[in-house]
Symmetry: C2
Subunit: 104 residues, 2 copies
DNA sequence: ACTCTAATTAGAAAAATATCTAATTAGAGA
DNA sequence: TCTCTAATTAGATATTTTTCTAATTAGAGT
């Protein structure tokens, strides 16, 4: 899984909403685009970023292109984020002799 | 929780590793910096991004500054990411009459 | 073959990000 | 107070990202 591309993809609110919408099933580029106040070419670059991260796949049906969420990669991404942020893990036992002082 | 700042913070590999390291307990700016091949000022900007996202807190002890992981925000961030990517959720029942075609 | 629609690619501009060196701040200790 | 150390802020530059309009591609239908 391309953790770098995946987390870059997740760093933009429009791309996050695209993912959320695709959880309910595939949608065309045009349908997706209609929800956001940006141009279609801008949406295309967001789709490209999500494809680059393998978070979505594209499938052409005649003249329209339908995007699908790649649930496998979505789940891998969740695991990876838990691995980074620490899935309910415990701090190592404290080592003494470190004076604590005021916050900044 | 500042989802935008949090996910921006997670989008850089150095910042991700800072978080991972702080899971084992607080560390000073200098200790953290020694693990990466970038300058100290660059590390300061990464610390600032993490502080802005409330993922870490700073505490001064004399001349050194110790950074702590904010586990509360880290856990909120995990929940948020699961909410976006879909924590084991199911697709809505399929609607028919959508022809499927070749991938692109 | 023409034309219409859906979407992308091309090219450009503005904004944000990442990085560096130099300068500054802040505390500790002689 | 001077000086040393740890770290940040200032200022500059290069790169990347986001966004736009205009042009192109691709398929469907007439």
């Amino acid at each position: 899984m391309k953790i770098n591309q995946v987390l870059k993809a997740l760093s933009h609110p429009i791309r996050r909403e695209i993912i959320t919408r695709l959880r309910d099933g595939p949608q065309s580029a045009g349908e997706l685009a209609s929800n956001f106040g940006v141009s279609k070419p801008t949406m295309s670059t967001h789709f490209a970023a999500l494809k680059d991260a393998d978070l979505i796949t594209a499938e052409r049906d005649g003249v329209t292109i339908n995007y699908h969420l790649n649930t496998t990669v979505a789940e891998e991404a969740m695991s990876a984020v838990m691995g980074i942020l620490g899935a309910g893990e415990e701090k190592a036992p404290a080592i003494k002799n470190k004076r604590k002082k005021a916050a900044i």
